[in-house]
């Protein structure tokens, strides 16, 4: 290891296992700090985790379910859209929070050394909690509509894992760039709005014309949202080829983000 790399570890890289342990503990500490900070002095508390997906579900049901009569492939439209909105909300809020992570911890970054990459990872992780809270309501909806899950539902952690890497991968890009250019903030907001429309959340994948199918599947959220819907609501196997494309794209996004972040993190303190 070159001396310069050595210097970026806590204790001169004496003990790799200890370094990882320290990184893990710092991440969990920051996670705790974020969660306690986020819900302190709010009246609704964890209720906030439900508000966004539920409001969107109501709006989608009205606009796409009632007015536009979009096909929901035989399941009640509210359930059809909500099962897509829960993972979508995790991704969107995770990316949004992750983008501001470096700038948000400016006072710490300009004062103390610690591995900066922990910040976007921890910020995305805080949104996992919201995901689980919102998923509870999904369970309630399934009971209400009388839809029994099958064993395929056990695949949820796999899809969630892919999605986590996707959200962190994008947050690595955006948080590093946001440290230098604040333009990244509105770009991310706009990008997420367009991305929602380009993902099969409000409509099924089958509504996409065949000739655009491959291009459409390059959006990793296509395979993922459709996958959640298959394994939870339809109780059948997900489309593994679509998921394969999602995994490949996620890997490219994540590795690219990691390299960009690692290339820029030494300049954060001087520019953020």
């Amino acid at each position: 290891m070159s001396p310069d790399r050595l210097a970026m570890e806590w204790e001169g890289g004496r003990d790799a296992a200890r370094e990882w342990r320290l990184k893990w503990e710092l991440a969990t500490n920051i996670l705790r700090r974020e969660i306690k900070g986020r819900y302190s002095q709010t009246f609704l508390g964890f209720g906030w985790a439900l508000i966004q997906p539920v409001i969107m579900m109501v709006a989608f049901t009205l606009v796409f379910g009632r007015f536009a009569k979009v096909s929901s492939e035989g399941v009640p439209y509210p359930l059809f859209s909500y099962v897509g909105l829960v993972p979508w909300t995790f991704l969107a809020s995770g990316i949004a929070a992750g983008t501001f992570s470096i700038a948000g911890y400016r006072s710490l970054i300009t004062r103390v050394y610690f591995p900066r990459i922990i910040l976007p990872i921890a910020e995305v992780s805080t949104r996992l909690l919201d995901f689980f809270v919102a998923a509870l309501l999904l369970a309630v909806l399934m009971v209400v509509y009388g839809i029994a899950p099958t064993l395929w539902i056990l695949m949820v952690p796999v899809l969630l894992g892919i999605q986590f890497f996707l959200a962190v991968g994008i947050a690595l890009w955006t948080s590093a760039m946001y440290a230098f250019y604040r333009d990244v903030g509105p770009v991310v907001q706009l990008g997420l709005q367009v991305w929602l429309l380009l993902s099969p959340v409000a409509y099924p994948l089958s509504a996409v014309p065949d000739r655009h199918r491959f291009l459409y599947l390059l959006n990793p959220m296509s395979g993922l949202v459709e996958g959640y819907r298959s394994i939870i609501v339809f109780g059948r196997a997900p489309d593994f080829s679509a998921l394969g494309i999602a995994v490949a794209v996620t890997a490219v996004v994540f590795l690219g983000g990691y390299m960009v972040f690692k290339g820029l993190d030494r300049y954060f303190a001087d520019f953020v």
């Binding site: 210097a7 500490n29 705790r32 103390v112």
Partner: protein, 286 residues
């Protein structure tokens, strides 16, 4: 790096950009000016695209090494690069060129309580800052009582620190940092922490650490403090090393230089020999 060295600077340069970030509006207006004002940009060539290219060399070509258990005093005028040097050692900022090598855990006593969160209790903050310094939860647990006792906040362990007085906050920050078994301690302008009794205690704790093998870098404008605490001293000016050597000798040379400057100022501008200057020169002679 030789085994006994814990800090090593190898031809280190650090430049800061002083200009603003380049903006689209800046680029457009710069180009508009070029087109419509007969190719003559209004401002200097430096200001292209609204971003000033001006940069400041805070540290220039510094090479030195500090050994384990050594204490080095840093002295120099404001803007001589002392703080940048500490930030480079602390790995907050990276050298523009050259290499900075350090070994072991570094704590900086210039940013006390940097990782603290106001909504969290003192207890949670001790664990949080421990994690930032690179301690495991168990290691913090083992030191917890000592940290609380040293900070003299036993009664407020579960109080959110946004309710702390500034003295309590600083004492807790100092205590949490100093109890993290640092190998290198960076101190800027000794300890304006707490009352005199606490400062005494803090200095004693520092000297115990140094006797135990920790390395101390001490920035101070008070030459007596440096002479008391440090074996070696470095005089910095304009981002470079003016002199490096035995503390007493360096302080004597620096003192002469400062006095010469004061006398020169006094003769050029008689009003400059105000009481403040007299007090300072008296202090220097002591």
């Amino acid at each position: 790096m030789p085994g006994s060295c814990v800090i090593e600077f190898d031809r280190v340069f650090k430049q800061y950009w002083l200009g603003k970030t380049q903006t689209l509006a800046g680029i457009v207006s710069a180009n508009m000016r070029r087109v419509f004002c007969n190719g003559q940009p209004r401002q200097s060539q430096e200001e292209e695209g609204g971003a000033s290219r001006a940069s400041l060399s805070a540290v220039r070509d510094m090479s030195f090494a500090v050994g384990r258990g050594e204490s080095l005093g840093l002295i120099g005028r404001n803007g001589s690069g002392k703080t940048t040097l500490l930030k480079l050692i602390n790995r907050v900022t990276w050298p523009t060129s050259g290499a900075v090598r350090t070994q072991g855990r570094i704590i900086s006593l210039l940013e006390l309580g940097a990782g603290f969160h106001g909504e969290l209790s003192a207890r949670d903050n001790i664990y949080l800052s421990g994690a930032i310094f690179g301690l495991t939860r168990k290691e913090v647990q083992a030191r917890f009582d000592e940290i609380v006792e040293f900070a003299e906040i036993e009664r407020f362990v579960d109080t959110p620190i946004k309710r702390f007085s500034s003295g309590m906050f600083a004492r807790l920050g100092f205590s949490a940092a100093i109890h993290s078994d640092p190998d290198i301690v960076l101190v800027d302008e000794v300890l304006s922490v707490g009352d005199e009794a606490f400062q005494r205690k803090a200095l004693d704790k520092l000297s115990v650490l140094v006797k135990g093998g920790a390395t101390l870098i001490l920035v101070s404008h008070d030459m007596r403090v440096i002479q008391q605490v440090c074996q070696r001293a470095m005089w910095m000016g304009n981002g470079t090393i003016m002199a490096l050597g035995e503390a007493g000798e360096i302080m004597a040379r620096y003192g002469e230089q400062i006095q010469a400057e004061i006398h020169r100022n006094a003769s050029e501008r008689p009003w400059a020999s105000a009481p403040g200057a007299t007090v300072l020169s008296e202090a220097l002679e002591r």
